[in-house]
Symmetry: C2
Subunit: 238 residues, 2 copies
């Protein structure tokens, strides 16, 4: 569960979270690292997407994962097979990661590894289509996943996640022949909430649609690195 007000300290926890998220982002920028926050309902396929992405991009990018789960290190253990730093955070009864938890994960990354060698940190959030969208953690972009098994109306019924997302993966499209579902209607519902979000229909099982996602990730990292270099040049010029 989560609080938005701390009665003892008398502070608005959402505002405090936002401030800390901004500090996290500044720290990622200092490291020269791009950060993506992955969010979805339980079982939409965040971990398997990360497995495929770590495998596909291992030659091109240095990656790490901050892995959030209420309990267990089941997902963290799956991802450690890919020879990348994986920091596991158990949120206990909390239904989302917050900026403080991710700051703790970043501290562990800094302690045990050399973060300046990294290009990209994935944050895998707790499986929940509602609350994680409210709590920034310091990411540069938000990636939402929606399994097509969840139904066509979900973007209308859970609007915040879809409004906040910079990129949306429609997952498990290999199951489309066995579902009474219209992919175009899902996409229409998404566009109703967020006309500009980038949408990738994918199947981690068959590999369909994954290449454009990999390229999008690489492009975001390259753009960030370029803009960081640009900023450094600007500083020299001025």
């Amino acid at each position: 569960m989560h609080q938005t007000i701390d009665a003892t300290l008398g502070i608005n926890l959402l505002h405090a979270n936002q401030s800390l998220a901004n500090l996290n982002r500044a720290e990622f920028d200092d490291w020269g690292v791009y950060c993506l926050n992955l969010m979805s309902s339980p079982g939409a396929g965040k971990t398997v997407l990360l497995e495929k992405t770590l495998a596909a991009l291992s030659g091109q990018l240095q990656m790490a994962v901050i892995e959030g789960d209420m309990t267990t290190e089941l997902d963290a253990e799956r991802l450690r097979q890919y020879d990348v730093p994986v920091i596991a955070i158990n949120t206990g009864r909390s239904c989302h990661l917050d900026a403080k938890m991710v700051a703790g994960g970043m501290h562990s990354l800094e302690h045990d590894y050399e973060p300046a060698d990294l290009d990209l940190v994935f944050v895998e959030n707790v499986g929940n289509l509602v609350c994680p969208a409210e709590f920034e953690v310091g990411e540069h972009a938000k990636v939402a996943l929606l399994s097509i098994t969840e139904g066509e109306d979900k973007p209308l019924k859970y609007p915040v996640m879809f409004q906040e997302a910079d990129c949306l993966l429609l997952t498990k499209i290999d199951l489309a022949p066995y579902l009474e579902i219209d992919l175009d209607r899902i996409i229409q519902s998404v566009r109703q909430m967020n006309p500009n979000v980038r949408i990738f229909p994918v199947s981690a099982k068959t590999g369909e649609g994954l290449d454009p996602w990999f390229k999008w990730v690489q492009l975001q990292v390259a753009l960030r690195q370029q803009s960081a270099k640009g900023a450094a040049v600007q500083e020299l010029v001025w």
Copy 2:
């Protein structure tokens, strides 16, 4: 989102919620109505299960639905086709129904209908596998749904929902041939969290497994009515 502490009033909202849930339950008892709280991830099939259940039991039970959604009345409109009272509650940014919202729904039921004529009220919660399990609304039993598309490990990773459930429906079992999933392993994971929970594997699409669920619902209502009569007899005796 939800708060657990109210800074202005200085009260623990979870305790306040529990007190109000107890009042709701007492009111349901006064009406002679049994209440089931349906909870799951988004898209696990709560609404279609209700559609099938309202259709199957319409000759035997007088039913109503209190329907919770963040936004829209899409689900409420689907259920109104079944000629039962449906009270729609929009929770806004809140990720779960609480006892106060359900008290409002009960008030609407009382205002527009004759609740003493009812046998059974279903509460359909917001789609979320985490937060609704923490907030009682006055139900007599909690029903959790888990779609087999969500994966085998979910009961281990989201333990509270599975520990709290009195009854669990494993939904979408018609998709089992197309998934790399072991139903026995899901059931083992559930049993690890809750050894005694009643489990019904079902498919709303094919109808498989629904009859035992309908019978379970009828039995709960009959047991409640019998125990209410017993209590009334006890009162006369004493």
